[in-house]
């Protein structure tokens, strides 16, 4: 994995993620009709177990939307919300929504898919525009499950098998200072190089 990124390269990656996540945060604000801020994106190269613990407890329940990224710089985009947070978003999006159950499973899954789709694509569009790379996404897939199970699978899907994994993540913050979700870009090996090259940095 690209463990040896220079400070300059890290800056560039943070900057494009900043613009991408900024787009996504704006869209999310409009979706939930609330002001959404975000943290400065972090580029982390960490061992698997540390990467998971940075986000939450291994067996904590999360709602995850995964988009596979195809094209010039493949990888995955993962949007993660703590379960409680996700339920409050759902209550806002769906009238009469009380809690996740077998009756509304299909409907809530498609709402989560749509949120992931909109956020993921607004992020990727920004990166696409800046780099001139062609990036497309798959249909989003949703999992409501333990954090460790979600994250390991997402990294493996992006072919990140090393002891160290790389992710660029941003936290959304709403006015209550609650974390409104994390947005994680998991590039496949080689994708970062392409992004950096097209930015004229490498």
């Amino acid at each position: 994995m690209e463990k040896n990124l220079s400070e300059f390269e890290l800056d560039a990656l943070r900057e494009i993620s900043n613009i991408g996540s900024g787009n996504a945060a704006t869209v999310l604000s409009q979706l939930v009709n609330k002001k959404i801020d975000m943290t400065v994106p972090q580029v982390d190269v960490l061992p698997f177990n540390d990467m998971i613990r940075k986000i939450g407890a291994e067996d904590e329940k999360f709602v995850a939307v995964l988009l596979r990224v195809f094209g010039d710089a493949p990888g995955n985009i993962l949007y993660l919300m703590g379960y409680k947070k996700a339920e409050s978003v759902m209550k806002y999006m769906l009238k009469d929504y009380k809690e996740y159950n077998t009756e509304n499973e299909e409907l809530s899954t498609s709402v989560y898919q749509e949120i992931g789709n909109i956020l993921g694509n607004s992020y990727l569009n920004a990166i696409s525009k800046m780099t001139g790379l062609t990036l497309m996404t798959s249909v989003p897939a949703v999992a409501i499950d333990m954090l460790a199970a979600i994250l390991t699978t997402s990294f493996i899907y992006a072919q990140q098998y090393d002891d160290y994994v790389l992710a660029i993540d941003t936290h959304f913050i709403d006015d209550n200072k609650d974390v409104g979700g994390s947005f994680i870009y998991i590039p496949s090996p080689g994708s970062l190089d392409k992004i950096l090259k097209n930015l004229g940095i490498k």
Binding site: A64, V139, A143, A148, A149, I150, T152, T153, I156, Y157
Partner: protein, 162 residues
């Protein structure tokens, strides 16, 4: 004596003696391998994430591969007083966490992990007495070194014995 719970991370393994327990949290496409020596009461648990180390140049942590972790687990148990003649295995995990419509073999890593674990246990003549593989849900796996009982916990479900 107070029993403690020893946590196993991803690509890791450990051994426990009564009254302790071994636990690994959030197995997705990964597979947990619990081996128990029912005579000498030695328990071992490994958490693998890939089926095969073949073709990987960087093997700084071989324990994440099924084909390397299983012999290492057996060796660690033997060093701790276990006898392979009394080893029995229970395995869990290998889920497809995200249901994508296309059947890319890469996406089927859970199934491949499960198959590799079974093949390797067979290779070392360790019988599998129970398995909980596949599906779409993550699993937490616990083995009690006192009884050799293995428990599985899933989100939104009661803990069950495997």
């Amino acid at each position: 004596m107070e029993s403690k719970e020893i946590k196993i991370g991803i690509g890791d393994l450990n051994i426990a003696f009564p009254p302790d327990r071994l636990i690994t949290l959030g197995l997705g496409s990964c597979v947990g391998i619990a081996i128990y020596d029912y005579k000498n009461k030695v328990a071992g648990l490994a958490h693998i994430m890939l089926p095969d180390s073949d073709g990987f140049t960087n093997q700084s942590n071989p324990l994440k591969f099924a084909d390397k972790a299983i012999p290492s687990l057996i060796e660690a148990m033997v060093k701790s007083g276990g006898n392979p003649a009394y080893f029995k295995a229970k395995i869990a995990g290998g889920a497809s966490m995200f249901a994508f419509s296309d059947k890319n073999p890469m996406m089927d890593i859970g199934t491949r992990n499960g198959t590799a674990v079974k093949e390797n246990l067979k290779k070392y003549n360790i019988p599998i007495t129970a398995e909980d593989l596949g599906g779409n849900s993550g699993r937490t796996m616990i083995i009690d070194a006192e009884t050799g009982k293995v428990f599985i916990r899933m989100v939104g479900k009661d803990m069950k014995e495997l």
